[in-house]
């Protein structure tokens, strides 16, 4: 049989299905207790019976993730614009941005929770998610804006473009692909940040997916842990794919990463 593209597409799915079947058989045969490792069918059972509560938890986590991500995009792009306009701001702030980035968020999280207060725990969660997601958004935007062709800059100088015209017509569109790359990284990191934050925030205060995992772990309900974990992966995949879709829609007409094939055929 020939290895056709459609076959290639379903190969990972087939592999995953085979793995699930092997898992089911192995666990049943070896009689591993479900509080150590449940079978896929047991996980599926939990997922279907507790679907609504899990979905509610997922919605909580998703909200925190999206708010943290939006804040990261806004501040990342905003600060990149500020850096490009005022060299002093970059010199002043950049070292501290790096410090914020290299300090493990899990170590700062308790501090933030205390400062923001457990009354506003969601604000603290968003803040923690933002800290994780912010840096790649900033660095990619800065890199994109700095990479503008100097001849292009000269062209805008020649036609006496104002600083705003230069920003809107040249620098932002030219940096847009890098910004999207940053956003794809940031989107995943915002989810990680939100989950880490929930873990640190702990009991009672949060009802997101991470809390479901902790709670199920305390009850040794491993199947429920897996179910929540599965939903977390689904969220992560959805965020990544949505951003990839946005990238494709925005760049398909002009960016070399999407047009190379047509160029080759065209010439």
């Amino acid at each position: 049989m020939r290895y056709t593209p459609s076959l290639k597409r379903i190969t990972p799915w087939l592999f995953g299905a085979a793995l699930l079947v092997a898992w089911e058989i192995a666990v049943t045969r070896a009689q591993i207790p479900s509080y150590i490792l449940p079978t896929p069918s047991q996980i599926w059972a939990v997922l279907s019976t507790e679907f609504i509560t899990l979905l509610q938890s997922a919605w909580v986590t998703l909200q925190i993730t999206l708010l943290a991500f939006s804040a990261a995009v806004a501040t990342g792009v905003g600060l990149a614009i500020l850096f490009s306009r005022f060299k002093l701001v970059e010199t002043l702030l950049y070292p501290y941005v790096v410090i914020l980035q290299v300090t493990p968020v899990i170590a700062i999280a308790p501090l933030i929770l205390i400062w923001v207060g457990f009354d506003n725990v969601n604000v603290a969660l968003i803040l923690i998610g933002w800290i994780v997601a912010f840096f790649p958004m900033l660095t990619n935007s800065v890199a994109g804006m700095k990479a503008v062709d100097p001849d292009m800059q000269d062209l805008f100088t020649l036609y006496r473009a104002s600083s705003l015209q230069r920003l809107i017509r040249l620098e932002l569109p030219a940096a847009f692909p890098s910004m999207l790359t940053g956003a794809k990284i940031s989107g995943g990191l915002a989810l990680i940040g939100a989950v880490v934050a929930e873990f640190v925030a702990g009991s009672g205060s949060s009802t997101g997916l991470a809390w479901r995992i902790i709670e199920a772990g305390n009850r040794l309900d491993i199947a429920a842990m897996f179910a929540a974990l599965l939903l977390l992966s689904v969220l992560g995949i959805a965020i990544f794919n949505l951003l990839s879709l946005l990238e494709w829609v925005a760049l398909k007409n002009w960016h070399p990463s999407f047009t190379q094939q047509t160029d080759k055929n065209g010439q």
Partner: protein, 265 residues
């Protein structure tokens, strides 16, 4: 004698001068260009040739007001809005279609949409790309992109046109054809053209006058008045005079190169 529209007086350009350096010579920076003094005239194309790194591109940018000379002054024509610049690369905005790329200078100047559309139409017809207005730059060949770049430079009806090795990346046939059209366009508009190239034959084909720059620091070591017809086509490329000029320039530049390399060792 035709009227002078632009004159350069003792123009120098110095690269990077670290003020903190202890070495007086380093503090003064590296002289890359000059002093250069020269007049440019209306309805005339001047080619600037010279070895790589001689500062010919820098000189062109100084003339266009894109770089500040370290010394010297420019008098006469110095109105950016009436200057067209064609770079070595087409420098098109990849995310905009051909029409919007050509309209860019007018958009930046805030011209009305109707005015933009009619002027864009006119210059695109001039370069033969009026049917490509809605295409994206990536859909065009290298030569066509260069035509768009030329159209964009012409759209402001400039009286000074500056070219920085614009056709260097194109195949020879395309380049020859564009050179012919370019000369015609500049002559029709009675504009002043300054053309930087490292191709001797291109300079002889296009220009009325050729300035030869030396190795760094670039200075004008020779000025050649090209004895060619006003209308130039393939016949001029075959003319004995054309080849004499080329040979003359080639000899001159080889000699400068030998002196330069001798001085180095």
């Amino acid at each position: 004698m035709q009227d002078t529209v632009l004159s350069l007086e003792d123009i120098c350009f110095t690269y990077g001068a670290p003020a903190s350096s202890y070495d007086a010579a380093a503090r003064a920076g590296t002289l890359a260009l000059g002093p250069v003094s020269q007049n440019f005239r209306k309805s005339e194309i001047t080619a600037i040739i010279g070895p790589s790194g001689c500062g010919k591109s820098t000189l062109l940018r100084i003339i266009g007001g894109l770089r500040k000379p370290s010394q010297g002054k420019i008098t006469g024509h110095h109105d950016n809005a009436k200057t067209g610049f064609v770079f070595q690369d087409p420098t098109l905005l990849a995310w905009q279609n051909i029409r919007d790329n050509v309209c860019l200078p007018m958009q930046l100047a805030g011209l009305s949409k109707a005015e933009q559309a009619s002027r864009a139409q006119k210059v695109l017809e001039l370069v033969g790309l009026e049917t490509w207005q809605d295409s994206m730059p990536r859909q065009l060949s290298g030569g066509m992109k260069m035509r768009v770049s030329l159209a964009r430079a012409l759209v402001g009806e400039p009286n000074l046109l500056l070219f920085d090795e614009p056709f260097a990346a194109l195949d020879e046939l395309t380049r020859n054809r564009l050179d012919e059209e370019l000369r015609q366009i500049i002559m029709d508009r009675k504009a002043t053209g300054i053309f930087v190239t490292h191709s001797l034959s291109e300079s002889v084909f296009l220009a009325d006058r050729i300035l030869v720059l030396s190795h760094r620091p670039g200075r004008i070591i020779f000025e050649l008045e090209v004895e060619g017809p006003d209308q130039r086509d393939a016949d001029w490329r075959r003319a004995p005079r054309f080849h004499e000029h080329c040979a003359q320039l080639s000899e001159l530049m080889t000699q400068d190169s030998r002196e330069f390399n001798g001085g180095q060792s």
